[in-house]
Symmetry: C2
């Protein structure tokens, strides 16, 4: 998330911008220090295991920090201090959790590319190939990435627990963190289940099913839970946390719908992933559900039969794109993004959190749903 | 671990036996209650997600509870009370961690069988086949099992944090738990790395490399860390925890060596896994390292070339077994088991922990290294 968007020097947004930069820098520093603190332990086991640490470090170095920033402004909006190490650690824990989820997600989706470079399982299969090791490179890559993701998930928890009493058993913050983890894993399961079981289920329910998947695997996880986590850590009231939810849940839904549109129509230079990758992965998104409902029977069947074909050609991708646009599904998806965004921005107006946090959340929200460079 | 082995009614071991039964029952109850408490949350996302919970429940229902029991007697030996909910929760957290590790380990090793039934990834690929869903059943199974393992790993942490202040940031218990998780993942990475890179490394170092793998992926994790965790939770002194280590580390090494011997020579009815499975998986164990060092060149090459061949025939498995036995490698491995066991039992004699805990640890140790039914 470019902080340049927030920049209006002198006004409250300008000061929010400087504050946000400081926070992002502190999260990056905490992540670097934490990972560095694990080097000696891993090296004493074997220098070979540093490859896992390197993969994690590369992954948490990049990214938009959307979750950490939602958490930060949730904290600030609830009265948390700007320079607290607690909220920096919470941001770092969320970034590590996100990295773990991406590592395993890329294995599940067979995505070989992440942010323009090789995904973790590809890094390890390339390591295998470079050394001309025995047995199967791809299998080694998957196995190593499963373990790297597990390690990263444990690191996330370690950093979260390190926040102290505010995240101890029974705290609201831990409740949110635990729920977030369980919901995103359950939501991801629904996602892969829909890929395989969707074709044999009533097409009429496809949009509803896809919206449920969005809610759990992405919306709650990317925006709602991080914002509430920040608020809870700062001791925000129940009514504030509910108001956070009213803003962040539709925002997250709009964010994921935008992601789905970009997954089919996005520019690889911006998304960092090959064009049409979601179609090859067989993702049955809301956009796809709308297409199956709106396209004529022949077109719908054309799309339905090609979802999940790994070596789908660029020509067929182009044809599917034309069907999605021509059927009115793309316009309908854009309409949904608009509706969810409007709901989010209306709820944002009602948040009683001060000018700085409100302006910062507004900028984050605009960037999340528009995703303009 | 059958508690019948501990049974000498009337003596201290008899009372330890009753106590151990009560603990095992309490851990099972806590696991059942915890998982049941997650049902509503998952059901509200979608009843389909209960399949993940069912897989976890089935896995934590069985097993020998070795780690939970080591933890319990470490706690009791350090003066912890017999009926504390804290140690029951610690046992449950260790069992959930072990279940998560097994789920991912079975994907990595392509083990379709666990405790005589289908492993988790097989359960999900069978679910796919029963419903005649679209796309690839095996791929769906792997993806679902990755997510189930992640959920189980998060559950483990949730239960561990639920113990309370004794596992808060900076506590010795959390330090042990964090180290255990990182070491077992790093150790497992060394294990898969040796499978692929072992053939191109000097054969002379194979036994040393295999012993390092054993230490991290198994010995520390199965016996040393759980015992120390129990001791730390009860506030045991640094010197007691060091003495625990002197006992439990060689015990864990003997335990894993025994497991390696059973992985090649074990009776499937006892191990719950197909005969010779470790050879098909290409595990480069200490037993294999000893074979490569001791067999003549032709025999060593015969073994080396067949490790990791998935469809290795029973005839070839039998030939490899004959080479392992004939070369003296099997006897050498048994000798190592004997040496490690002796070191463990000598250290056990020196533990100042009272008659009951010492007798119980002795029984656990005998069962772990002998693995007689």
């Amino acid at each position: 998330m470019s902080t340049a968007e927030l920049s209006r020097e002198g006004g409250p947004a300008g000061s929010a911008d400087r504050e946000q930069d400081a926070f992002v820098g502190a999260v990056a520093g905490t992540l670097a220090d934490f990972l560095e603190s694990k080097r000696g332990m891993l090296e004493s086991i074997s220098p070979d295991t540093l490859a896992l640490l390197d993969s994690i470090r590369a992954l948490v170095t990049g990214g938009k920090r959307l979750r950490a920033l939602m958490c930060y402004w949730g904290w600030r909006g609830a009265g948390g201090a700007a320079d607290s190490p607690q909220i920096v650690a919470a941001g770092a824990a969320l970034e590590l959790f996100q990295a773990a989820a991406l590592i395993h997600d890329d294995i599940i989706d067979r995505s070989d590319i992440r942010r323009g470079g090789p995904s973790v399982h590809r890094q390890f299969s390339q390591l295998h190939q470079r050394h001309r090791w025995a047995l199967d490179a791809e299998r080694f890559g998957h196995a190593a990435a499963i373990l790297t993701g597990d390690l990263c998930l444990s690191f996330s928890e370690e950093v979260f627990a390190g926040i102290g009493p505010a995240t101890s058993a029974g705290s609201r913050a831990r409740e949110v963190f635990d729920l977030m983890r369980a919901e995103v894993m359950a939501g991801q399961y629904l996602d892969i289940l829909e890929e395989v079981s969707g074709p044999s289920k009533p097409a009429a329910g496809a949009v509803d099913r896809a919206q449920s998947i969005i809610r759990y695997k992405s919306a709650k996880y990317s925006t709602e839970h991080p914002l509430i986590l920040g608020g809870a850590l700062a001791g925000g009231s129940g009514s504030l946390l509910t108001a956070y939810s009213d803003f962040a849940l539709p925002l997250g839904e709009a964010f994921q719908l935008r992601d789905d549109v970009l997954g089919v129509f996005g520019d690889p230079a911006t998304t960092g992933k090959p064009a049409g990758d979601d179609l090859r992965e067989g993702k049955r998104t809301v956009l796809v559900g709308l297409t199956l409902a709106k396209a004529d029977d022949d077109d719908a069947r054309f799309v339905d039969e090609r979802l999940g074909i790994q070596d789908l050609g660029d020509d067929e991708i182009a044809q599917i794109r034309a069907i999605i646009a021509g059927s009115g599904a793309l316009a309908a998806a854009e309409g949904l993004i608009e509706d969810y965004s409007n709901a989010a921005f209306s709820a944002l107006e009602l948040l009683d959190i001060g000018v700085g946090p409100a302006a910062a959340l507004g900028s984050l929200a605009r960037a999340a749903v528009g995703r303009e460079p």
